[in-house]
Amino acid sequence: MMRIFSLEEIKKSFFTCLWFGFLTFPIMVVRVNTIEDVVEWRWNNLIIVVFGSFFLSFLWRYMIERKEAGRKKAESGEAEKKPLVRRIMDNPRIYRPLLAAVAIFVLSFPFLFSSYQTNIMTTALIYVMLGLGLNIVIGLAGLLDLGYVAFYAAGAYTYALLNYHFGLGFWTVLPLGAVVGAIMGILLGFPVLRLRGDYLAIVTLGFGEIIRLVMENWNEFSFGPSGIANIPRPGFFGMDLSLTAATNYIYYIMIGMVLITIFFVNRLQNSRIGRAWIALREDEIACQAMGIDKTKTKLTAFSLGATWAGMAGVIFAAKTTFINPASFTFLESAIILCIVVLGGMGSIVGVILGALVLILLPEYLRAFSDYRMVLFGATLVLMMVFRPQGLVSDVRRVYQFKGATEKGE
């Protein structure tokens, strides 16, 4: 434990706050109004920055110290304490009733809350699905895909365009969205997968931006920045649904989709394929030396991840009934990345939690909504520095054997 309020520490914090006061001075304090030619001095911001950084710097150093201590502990072989979420999940006495309560809450949600709330929840669920999909690529296979939004856009445009030109319905296009996502995953994945990790990130970012820019400029194909409107909501056996009913209907569709996603991703991650992904993330060379085909394994991860994004795109188009390229910027990819990083790479429960926290919090706490993107950025940095495994770290499956599983035989 460090003595937080020793003179030495206070001195350090004092200099830190002076430094940040200096650093943020022009941007935070001065604002030049070039139209009326006046300078606005916002001294209160300076006071906030100085005091804020003075106190936060204690916290920062304390956290760094704790992390170092934790690392030393791990090196000396001491087992880490199980995190709270993991303890809950390991105990059927707790998690069964909890799961039942969540299920009841989720199913009755549209009846308890307004359709505005239901809509927000549906959005959050779409992000859960996107997060779970990207989790395959980043969390399991360790491929930093910064252009994930391209597959989401592909799904959305597939539905919008097929509906516009050929009148195809939601349920027909939903599987097609998955197929388009998968094919695009393979097409884009093939050339980039032999690249090293950080180059792969930049190339996927480039692809994502190229696709968005093409959508913005190729008016004949995608109707440019004005986008496509009047996309029909999902049909319910040919019935016309009222707006509220349609909102609820999409909500339940989304619940179903998320359950299906969880079901399949869970199976994948404890299968031969899933193990190969994780091995690839851990050590590419050892992985190949164990007989795993690097390219093929990466390609499956890339295109399976894209499959979920394609389907999520179709649902997104059906939900908002209007799409344009502005919905598919790099920031969208960054938000999904943030969900995976916050929740915990490789962990399904973590990603669900991450999506709900990051999407719902800014919606419900108005104070947050302005600072949404600043907080996303800060979250990425802070998680990497202090808790790279995320809120819920991935735990490997435990196998039971008759007889000889006792420790210390």
Binding site: R31, V39, V203, L331, V381, M384, V385
Partner: protein, 300 residues
């Protein structure tokens, strides 16, 4: 032919700016093998600082030349300070972590800084005063090249020469090259690795700030988002030339500038950014070591 020269000079100008920003990428990558995603934001903060300082000074009635000098100085100082702080907070604690962790942290930093400027200043485009004085001797060819363009090209050349000199002949440069080769070894040999890395960020940020001031006064508009696109393009330039190499960054910047300029001039101006991104994707796929780079064999 006139049109060709016009495009040629505008490409040269653009390319010089990309080169100035690319230098920061290349130096940081050369030393800690990190794509400093927030580098574009440092350039943007440099431009904003210059704008704010110039605005305040012109209201106080300073003359043009002193505004130019002080605004540029403030931009360089502040960008360097931001570069230094970012490294200390977001990258240094991750030096032993997997490379993707540091990259994600850098992306987070980039998003954070963009929105920090957005919230503290504005999301609107702000008019940027033209700080560069007119050169009268250029009048006969003024329709081809402006004095701002001349200043940009000359500044880039000077900065590149200074940097090459610094890396080749000074003690700091030697320490930088040693650190780039092998951090642990350099440390054993008495190089203060932390200080070398800090210096690299400071120098890289300072060149980015110079780029920021020049391009802002050339184009006359800035907003919080200019760093992102410029950052990716500069990264393209760095990779194009061979990441880690100073002349490579300049060469890459120029190639990219001309590609963009001629492609938008002769093909289509709608797809300006698409050309740059396509070039980036192609170069990374087909020649990731760049024009001046050497391919390396992975160690086992």
């Amino acid at each position: 032919m006139e049109y060709f020269f016009e495009l040629f000079f505008s490409g040269l100008t653009r390319g010089s700016i990309y080169a100035l920003i690319a230098l920061g990428y290349t130096m940081v990558y050369g030393i800690i093998e990190l794509i400093n995603f927030a580098h574009g934001e440092i350039y943007m903060i440099g431009a904003f600082t210059a704008l704010i300082v110039a605005g305040v000074l012109s209201l106080l009635g300073f003359n043009e030349l002193s505004i130019l000098a002080l605004a540029a100085l403030a931009a360089v100082v502040y960008s360097s300070a931001y570069g230094y702080t970012i490294e200390k907070m977001a990258y240094k604690p991750l030096r032993k972590a997997p490379r993707l962790s540091a990259l994600i942290s850098a992306i987070g930093m980039s998003i954070f800084l963009q929105n920090y400027v957005l919230l503290a200043q504005t999301s609107d485009f702000l008019p940027f005063p033209s700080l560069i004085p007119d050169f009268h001797f250029l009048e006969p060819i003024a329709h081809l090249i402006t004095s701002a363009e001349v200043v940009i090209v000359v500044t880039t050349a000077v900065v590149m020469v200074i940097l090459s000199f610094l890396i080749k002949f000074t003690r700091l440069g030697k320490a930088m090259r040693a650190t780039a080769q092998d951090k642990d070894m350099a440390m054993l040999m008495g190089v203060n690795v932390n200080r070398v890395i800090s210096f690299t960020f400071i120098i890289g940020s300072a060149t980015a700030a110079i780029g920021g001031v020049l391009i802002a006064s050339h184009i006359g508009m800035i907003n919080f988002y200019i760093g992102f696109i410029a950052g990716i393009k500069a990264f393209t330039a760095a990779v194009l030339g061979g990441i880690g190499s100073v002349p490579g960054a300049v060469l890459g910047g120029l190639v990219l500038g001309w590609t963009e300029s001629f492609a938008t001039g002769y093909v289509s101006s709608d797809y300006e950014d698409v050309f740059a991104f396509t070039l980036l994707v192609l170069i990374l796929i087909f020649r990731p070591e760049g024009i001046l780079g050497r391919s390396t064999t992975q160690k086992v």
